[in-house]
Amino acid sequence: MRRFLEAARELLQRVGNFDKKTRRVQVAVSDYLISHWGWYPLLVHTLMALLAAALVLLVIAGGSVLFIWMERKVAGRIQDRLGPTRVGGKFGWLQTIADGIKLLSKEDLCPAGADTLLFRIAPYVAFCASYGSFIALPFATGWVGLDINVAVFFVVAVLGLEVFGVILAGYASASKWSLFGAMREAAQVISYEVPLGLCIVIPVMIAGTMDLTKIGNLQAGWFTNWYLFHDPFTFITFFVYYTCALASVNRAPFDLAEAESELVAGFHTEYSGLRWSFFFMAEYGSMFLVSALGSVLFLGGWNGPFPLAQWIFGQHASELSGFSFVIANLLGLMAFMLKAVVAVTVMMWIRWTLPRLRIDQVITTCWKYCTPIAAVMFLGVITWQLFGLPSGGDVLPYHQQGVRRLPGALREGPFDTAEVLYAPKKDMLPAPKDSAVDARWHARARLASDRKGE
């Protein structure tokens, strides 16, 4: 027993004290298992990967259960009803579970004229796309399935595949309602993807990195450091992003592919039981995902509205170590989840408030309004950065610097100053500490001096 406690303490220490650059829990735990318990590395890495996958699956499945319940409650309240009140107590807590059991017991049908293989596979394609994009989404500093430095790009790329599941389902069903749904979906995709991409590029440009963990940590401190309040252009960009994100997850007013009042049930008309529910797990999963992505890009991610960790521990959460790091990160996780869930709730609110758009209205909204607005905002943010105009973060202390003043950063140091997670002092660009950056910096300087010598 005592040995076990000691091992647990050691492990906790490691979780807090591991490499400050990557901050990955999996790395710490697997290193511990390999070095102390002598486990076979391949087994440990497989186990850690499975564990991360299971946790992400829990977020999607648990999230869907919660969101479906919330959807009913929110819909009920907006329409002046109570929503579910019977199953599982006063607030109908177990309504989703009851639905799940009902769906499990339904017959799995496949229409006679359908392309059986594609029909059966389509729900999994949609679900896997939604699930796969969660891999690169950080939930707090270092609490991420796979820490890749192009995380933003990866998430958007993989989430884009969900559309393919919908189109396949519509096509393979051999039903005109489904086919109409798929056609609408395809037309919708080509209209929202451009403004969505433009909106996502803007915070990436301000941060100077595509690493979601770094983007989140660059917004540490007071809420004025959030990119939402960076300048007026980013403030508008967030709402354009939210509109396009709404379109990308097929939520009303952009639920044309489903359109239950026109197309029976659109692309999933022919589906039943568990396969049908996979589409909805995918939908709620991606709703959470785009909300979480928006909260990392614009709403400070896991940073609360005020620098709590700074007050309690004297340092930002990403700088802490040991037990205080775990505590600070847990608080950050709560802030992150809260932001994402609020954004999802607003999506529900919008769904039960606005009527569905026609396809030409969707295309008009995306191409004629969102795209030009996003493009102008993009130029505006470039100009703001170019002239180093004051950002919202200048109002309050604990300002986050990063490569905010890009031209200056370009003159004084390499791009990798974005590696610096937290810089409490203003207007001071730290010298590159990291050895990799250092080596490159010297190599480059050497090259420059060689040239001058010629």
Binding site: F154, I167, L179, M183, I190, L410, R440, R444
Partner: protein, 208 residues
């Protein structure tokens, strides 16, 4: 040791998936199924990219081929299809041409595959461009690939070398011209519509 084994195992897995689905593309007759297998093959290829640490290229592969092109392909098939499930029969001549082109590509690719990993020759080291590349290649793998690609494309800040900025700009302008041209060709032709049809119909055509 264990890690190397895992890496090799995953490489084998993704490589086999790519080959399998590529063959499935060739041998299936249904267009949409072909597109589906092509997606799986390309996604497995992007898995290989991720495995090699080129995550930017991998994500790019997903966005461009899987996300963009194939959605358009399926959209096109759905718009143009006359019967529910379009199927293609490949003629004998097409097989020969395809085998020829594929064979030539294979002949080119196999020597290239065996050349990778050899150190650069002395002649190339004398070249100025090669010197830049060796400077880049001394960096450890931990430096983000996206940064390296960006610096390589647009030039290193502080250096007087401009990278591929000019070709990049020329291509962007070219694409813009193509886009404007496509929009011009696809716009509603008002005069023709109002001549050929009645007033109400031309109004509909214009609003579209």
């Amino acid at each position: 040791m264990g890690e190397i084994n895992g890496h090799a195992l995953l490489f084998l897995f993704f490589g086999l998936l790519t080959c399998l689905f590529s063959l499935a593309v060739v041998f299936s007759a249904n267009v949409v199924r072909m597109a589906f297998y092509l997606i799986l093959a390309l996604a497995a290829t992007s898995g290989l990219h991720f495995l090699a640490g080129a995550d930017f290229v991998g994500a790019m592969q997903l966005v461009l081929y899987v996300g963009g092109t194939l959605v358009l392909l399926v959209f096109g098939v759905m718009l143009t299809a006359q019967n529910p499930f379009v199927s293609l029969r490949t003629a004998g001549g097409d097989w020969i041409v395809a085998a020829l082109v594929g064979g030539i590509l294979l002949v080119i690719l196999i020597p290239v595959a065996f050349q990778v990993g050899l150190p650069p020759s002395e002649a190339s080291l004398m070249d100025r461009r090669a010197e830049r590349e060796t400077v880049v290649s001394t960096e450890p793998v931990s430096v983000p690939t996206a940064t390296r690609i960006g610096l390589g494309l647009l030039g290193v800040p502080g250096d007087d070398v401009s990278g591929y900025l000019l070709p990049f700009e020329i291509i962007s302008i070219h694409l813009l011209v193509v886009l404007v041209g496509a929009a011009y060709l696809a716009r509603a032709k008002r005069r023709v519509a109002s001549d050929a049809r009645g007033g109400v119909e031309s109004g509909v055509a214009e609003s579209e």
